[in-house]
Symmetry: D2
Subunit: 284 residues, 4 copies
């Protein structure tokens, strides 16, 4: 059943005439059939983005490598090609709060995510029992100012040992250091409990309550060395009134956090996200 395999390519680079024709032409000439093809052009930057999902012919088992080679050689674009639905190893980082943790793991167990979860890392022991109840190895890596560097090194070693391709900070209450991001290209999805860029930093629900906003939000983004300033993936808001105290904001916000982080993880696993200039293009 090799023929039933589908591939998905993500491409981006300087725009020039004929790019759509070039890629679709190659696929057609090699017996493939395009299922979806989205493209976008950033007019200001002159950058071209494309996502192509196609079914190569069964006679062409090296379609993945061949397309990548062709696209790189012919156009100098950045290109990644992956089999559709291929399982991606994902590491979860948690602290004590469990709402995003349970939500993500339950979605994964219900088959919603093409992923494996080789391990969970936490700076606390609190969620060990829950993690192991789900059958997922749990590593307690405490973090103090003195041990932070060592803890990040240990996390990266684990990630590399398991071939992790995505890390998800499911309310992991630690800030990853500049060093960390210099040592790895593994993308890291984080969730912030505000409608960024409003209320970046600590205690956003308290900030929101004090400012008297009428909507609260949550934001999933790729973590970068600059806190809460990485490329935004998904945002949701919920209406509040003067009747809602900080505790209500926290509770309602947790529902938003679950929605945005689960959405962001899904889009990433489905190879729908391209990053550039600290922004995201999402082909949904």
């Amino acid at each position: 059943m090799l023929g039933a395999m589908k591939l998905v390519a993500l491409l981006n680079g300087p725009d020039r005439p004929g790019l759509v024709a070039k890629f679709s032409g190659w696929i057609y000439e090699h017996g493939g059939n395009i299922i979806h093809a989205d493209q976008h052009r950033d007019d200001e930057e002159g950058i071209f983005f494309q996502r192509i999902e196609w079914e190569p012919t069964a006679d062409h088992p090296t379609a993945r490598e061949d397309f990548a080679e062709f696209a790189t050689a012919e156009t100098q674009m950045a290109v990644t090609v992956r089999p559709v639905g291929a399982s991606m190893p994902v590491a979860l980082l948690v602290s004590k709060q469990d709402h995003c943790f349970h939500d993500l793991v339950l979605r994964w167990r219900s088959g919603e995510y093409p992923a494996t979860i080789p391990f969970i890392v936490s700076n606390h022991e609190v969620l060990r029992e829950a993690a192991e109840g789900y059958g997922i190895p749990f590593h307690h890596i405490p973090v103090t100012p003195a041990t932070k560097q060592e803890a990040e090194t240990r996390l990266l070693e684990l990630a590399r040992a398991h071939g992790v391709e995505l890390m998800v900070m499911a309310r992991y209450m630690q800030i990853l250091s500049d060093d960390f991001f210099e040592q790895t290209d593994i993308p890291v999805i984080n969730v912030h409990h505000s409608f960024l860029p409003a209320f970046a930093g600590a205690k956003p629900y308290h900030q929101a309550h004090r400012r008297g906003v009428k909507l609260i939000g949550a934001t999933a983004h790729y973590a970068t060395a600059e806190l809460d300033a990485g490329p935004i993936i998904a945002q949701e808001v919920s209406r509040i009134t003067h009747r809602h105290g900080v505790a209500d904001l926290v509770r309602r916000g947790q529902d938003l956090e679950k929605l945005v982080i689960s959405q962001a993880v899904r889009w990433h696993l489905e190879n729908r996200i391209l990053i550039y200039r600290n922004k995201t293009v999402i082909f949904d």
Copy 2:
């Protein structure tokens, strides 16, 4: 500055391998540059949809006709090609309520719509002064059961005389007959003040109030011979509570009506909508 002209093609028909390559290849070979290209495949029906926006080379003034001929001959797909931003003649149909009427005309006057409004038709005199104040010819065509057929004929004559390509029922409180739709292919956009298919028919806000729903809605759709059952274009909802009486629902609903009808008209004028099987594909 002919070279700055852009074209937009809408295509749909049975899917088969190579369609994306075929169309993008033709454009590239004729010196054109694709700006946007969206496509969609209905897996159940095996239908392929595409919207391509491109800039033909200045050397190719017949690109519009040539592409249409090529696409039809080569693929037997339904195809329309139009210059981007070309002005479309639009007729407004109104009765007594003026919120959608003012909203649409003000958007048009502010340059939001690539359109002309050659005339407004109403079954009442109420909005004559407002229409003429905007400098738009106003035709009063009363409708009674006895004169309905004659009134529709008059409307169609006016539409044809002015080359109307779209009619918009801006709270026009008449039902167009089967005969009407048999005599013309001019698309008609209507707005219904409910979240269809809930509360189809008369007095939807009263129905919603009686049922005790917690959200009210509005729906813009293409009118067909079957009342409130045509292809849906845009829908919006607004939260309500037990404190809202029917009058509140009407007032809040009017804001939703303006939003969905103005959105639907914009998408239509920008050639973003394909209709099939009583549904719409919207390339936004």
Copy 3:
């Protein structure tokens, strides 16, 4: 610390002058302090609704009974009085799908609900392990046309034996009979995977997909003998496009189902809902 106890009263009945003064006056005269007081008047029906939350003085341990007696005797209104935050025994009914089940149980475990869950009933064995993993007794009561009456009797016996005050159909795929509702006054919250009254009945996501709506919804309501026609408590919607197939609608809909059912259960447990004329008044 008896003095720190708070009471909440829900009242409704024919409106007449002085009701607010009467209830607030009684509380003040008996040394109590009102924390929140919401009232609503249905102008069409002439019905008055009130929710009062107050802190009786520590010297008045019978405030709950005394207020109920006073309100009933003086005004002939329907009245219930409960301690704020008092734990309510809730029975969960499930079938095979587990998203609402996990969501409700996890919220309960995190302390979000003032409730106990004395047991879970299912017409399938599928969720036994998960239920028992949470430490909640699980009863498998199969339902066939022949055994339906017996199954409902068994459910009611369990409910009475545990003093259940609320049943929650967390995607329980059975219709409770007229007989059932005649035998009990225990309220039953159900979730329907559509924006009721649109797409009532079976397979609503398929109906929605066929109709080509642009928003899908979910509705939590009190189950009654008439299927999907009971008083609506909470509704949410989510935007969809032509790109979403039925499977996508199901997945996105499950998030809406969790939101509306968890919200409805919270409002019920916080004594915020009054029912009348097949509608709800929710003092949020």
Copy 4:
């Protein structure tokens, strides 16, 4: 038909036991009938807020003054009492953009607002014809750094001469000075084209586009001497994608601006807003 008059009181001040009983008791004793009564208690600040709408008996023509006197004398609360539906003189401030201007005036003309509009002030001549077309006196008051103080003085003189009780900045592109706010207590509603506090200041749509947010918003608030930092009244958001350029954000944002400013003005005219600690309590 004096008996059909209704009054609405807004009260706020330090909470203490018996306030609800005191006010509702007074109304009952004076033959009045409460239609709506909302109250709120800010637990952190210990402040009590109440809005009461009632129908005094026809025998009590001084109910308005008497209640205000009673409430002030007995409780030292801040209190305002107004007849429900009484027309409030509102001044509109505009510059060149007309979407909020038309929207507000059309709502007013359709009877949605209990208000008069004695005049419109603008720092440009652009909207004179439109204003006068609506029959509203138009005053052109140019503003330069050199004439700013003089212009504000002229505006205040006009406002006082016409008994203006509310000013609405309908995209008035000037910042009112500290001096202005020191000289007057007339409330000023402004609209900002972002989801405040995100993107305060100039060119918020450009800021939003650069940051790559997935939702844009608009905020209606009471203007204060500190730019974009006054009490928030209403906020709305709209979903955007990478396909939307700055021009799309502007266009979609204008719909949000109309929604929030029209909502804020309605709430103000219906005496539903209480301000404290730079926040609003809205009894909707």
